[in-house]
């Protein structure tokens, strides 16, 4: 790089930086938005299916029916919200989405059990949220299985078969990397992926289009600066600002959310720097092909928010996505960075296992930079 070229890049960068600094609201937003998102999502983003609002219609009102229900609602999974008077009330509560589970215990429930018969109860599960519906179904089934084992064991005891072990197989389940399935341990680091995609992209999206919109781009058209010098100079301040964001978010995850960090800090930072290079590139491409700031911002929000939330592996592992989702996931850099984040935070794995992710993100970013170079022409039309 020649000296003049360096000077020109420096000039563009310092102009861009001054513009950012002189717009205090923008500068505030540049750092405040990531932190605010981190706080909102970090504190409350939980996928646990617990305290499921439940309603009960007990037409039997016996000791056994109470035992059955109390056993269920005293777990942390269910919360008895209402004892309904009739079936219609249950259906209305379900339709309004006020409860997700309704139990109907018919009359003669206890009597049937005392007669050593199968005694039916009705379990109504709200299927509106398929994942939650499935978990609820499984919880109820598991509870009834253990309740029935108790009944059977009692029955056998009464007949003198006391040595019978009806549950000879025990399953010991251990959740690796996140033993108590604390959502925040996997979700807080995952938020880095989302936030470091949205923020750099939306900031960089304005870089060029701003000049087009205000007409100042003509100064650039007529100057001696080359296209790549201009683009590079434009994005350097955004790398800097977002690097600060990486550090802020990383510290918050450790100090405020107390997420254990087990891997190499160097590898995380390296991955993060490459990642913001790429996400800035996404904004740059948008900035190069749109003509107005309105368009640039709408397009960037559409292409970053939803994919980074849904297809990064934050809420759902990528292997669990359908074919279309998986294709979309592989097309966005978020998924690869997520592997680096998880690899350094919770799984301690090295460059050997994760190296390809770095290369893919880097290649992605480089290609984006060249695309914006192609799209950005130093003339109209």
């Amino acid at each position: 790089m020649s000296r003049e070229s360096f000077n020109r890049i420096k000039a563009v960068s310092s102009k861009e930086l001054k513009e950012i600094i002189r717009s205090p609201l923008f500068l505030l937003l540049a750092h405040f938005v990531p932190v605010a998102l981190f706080l909102v999502f970090g504190f409350g983003l939980s996928l646990d299916v617990e305290n499921i609002p439940t309603a009960l219609l007990d037409l039997d009102r016996t000791q056994t029916s109470r035992e059955l229900v109390n056993g269920l609602v005293k777990t942390k999974y269910f919360h008895l919200q209402e004892r309904a008077e009739n079936n219609q009330r249950l259906i209305n509560l379900l339709k309004r989405g006020k409860i997700r589970l309704a139990l109907v215990i018919p009359p003669q429930f206890q009597k049937r059990l005392y007669q050593d018969r199968a005694s039916p109860i009705q379990v109504l599960v709200d299927g509106t949220y398929p994942y939650r519906g499935l978990v609820i179904k499984n919880y109820v089934k598991a509870y009834l299985t253990s309740f029935n084992t108790g009944l059977a064991q009692n029955w056998l005891n009464k007949r003198g078969q006391t040595s019978v072990n009806l549950q000879p197989i025990k399953l010991e389940t251990r959740f690796l990397y996140n033993p108590s399935l604390v959502s925040s341990y996997s979700l807080v680091p995952g938020l880095l992926v989302v936030i470091l995609m949205m923020n750099p992209a939306i900031m960089a999206a304005l870089a060029i289009v701003k000049e087009k919109d205000y007409g100042t781009i003509y100064n650039i058209y007529s100057s001696s600066i080359t296209r790549w010098e201009f683009l590079l100079g434009k994005v350097i301040p955004y790398y800097g600002l977002n690097f600060i964001n990486i550090l802020i978010l990383f510290l918050l995850s450790l100090v405020l959310f107390q997420v254990p960090f087990k891997g190499s800090l160097f590898l995380l930072l390296l991955g993060s720097i490459i990642y913001i290079f790429t996400t800035t590139g996404m904004g740059l491409v948008v900035s190069a092909f749109t003509r107005s700031m309105v368009a640039a911002q709408i397009v960037t929000i559409i292409i970053t928010i939803i994919p980074s939330f849904l297809y990064s592996g934050l809420l759902m592992p990528v292997s669990n996505l359908g074919r279309e989702g998986e294709i979309e996931a592989h097309l966005f850099p978020a998924m690869y960075y997520m592997k680096i984040v998880q690899g350094t935070y919770s799984k301690v794995i090295g460059l050997k296992e994760m190296g390809t992710n770095y290369l893919i993100i880097l290649a992605y970013g480089t290609i984006l930079f060249f695309i914006s170079l192609l799209l950005f022409k130093k003339r109209e039309g």
């Binding site: 938005v33 605010a36 379900l94 398929p130 978990v135």
Partner: protein
Amino acid sequence: MRLLFFLKKEALQFLRDKAIFLFVLYAFTLDVYIAGNGFILTLKNGGMALFDLDKTVMSREMTSRIRKPYFQWKEEIKSSEEALRLLDQGKTLGVLTIPPNFQKKLHQGRTVSLQLLLDGTQITSSTLASAYIAQITADYGQEFALKYYGISSPTMAHMPRVDGRTRVLFNPNLEDPYFTALDELFMVVTMISIILSATALVRERDYGTLEQLLVSPIKPRQIILTKILFTMIALILASHITLLLVLQGAFGIPMRGSYLLFMGVTALYIFSCCGIGLLIATLAQRLGQIGLLTILFLAPILFLSGGWVPTEAMPRWMVPLTYLSPLKYYTDLGLGIYLRGESFSLAWREILAMAAVGSGYFLYGLVRFRKIYR
């Protein structure tokens, strides 16, 4: 008449910026389609590895029950190091270890412990996988025990037993697109209506065309209302396209409630979002700040809606805040009317609440807007 001309101006402005038009169209069609098709929340073909130290008829019989559609066996491994390596690389969701003498111990009437290792970073899949496998192994154990102790099936029929007859309502097969596609539509509506209305209002100021409008016979209030009216018309049309083409066309999700009620609620919701857009417009000094401001508002709105994060799983102090997110009401109402067939007589409280919250944002935005443009 004047208003019509102004409406036409807004429409032309929207249509002439091809990037905006195309991406909004993308968001309302392909994006919803991909989300509906691509997002599988339930467990399908979860990859499992088997570490079988027993290798007997019974260990095989039991593991063969762990199968599709929920699971698929990826490979059989020979050491626990291999198990950890596979999990580290994310190649499997879990590893099931069957101890030596599994069959022998069962035949001696003793209790055997199996070990299941699951990837805790994949919270949803692991939760479901642990529930399924626990059920499968417990059932297998019980069947064996009953046979072992010579308790025949006629005897079993005389054992007391609670028979849980489970019925899943509104989405009997728990199909994912029912929720994912609809929720995606709600998110898209939110996103686009906020940013379209916010930019429409700031644009004139930033380009310096506001002065022209202010000296024209149109009143400032009319300017705002027309811009919001345009956003509403455009997005109601777009939602129609999604409903017909994607939700009912591609996915065949049946509309159980009233179509009219659904669209009415949608219109009211878009109005609420425009109120937030108006508020953002008063906070932004330049057009370039709209994007970041929108994200700042959008994230909590999406998050507090209860669509992805169940309200009951939130920290207690956060629950009252959900009532500030208009998307919470829209998610409840939209899913309620569309999937659960909620009627107006059941839904009116939420509709009223949404209208109140939406008008709150709108009025606050209007007051601020007037102060600035006086």
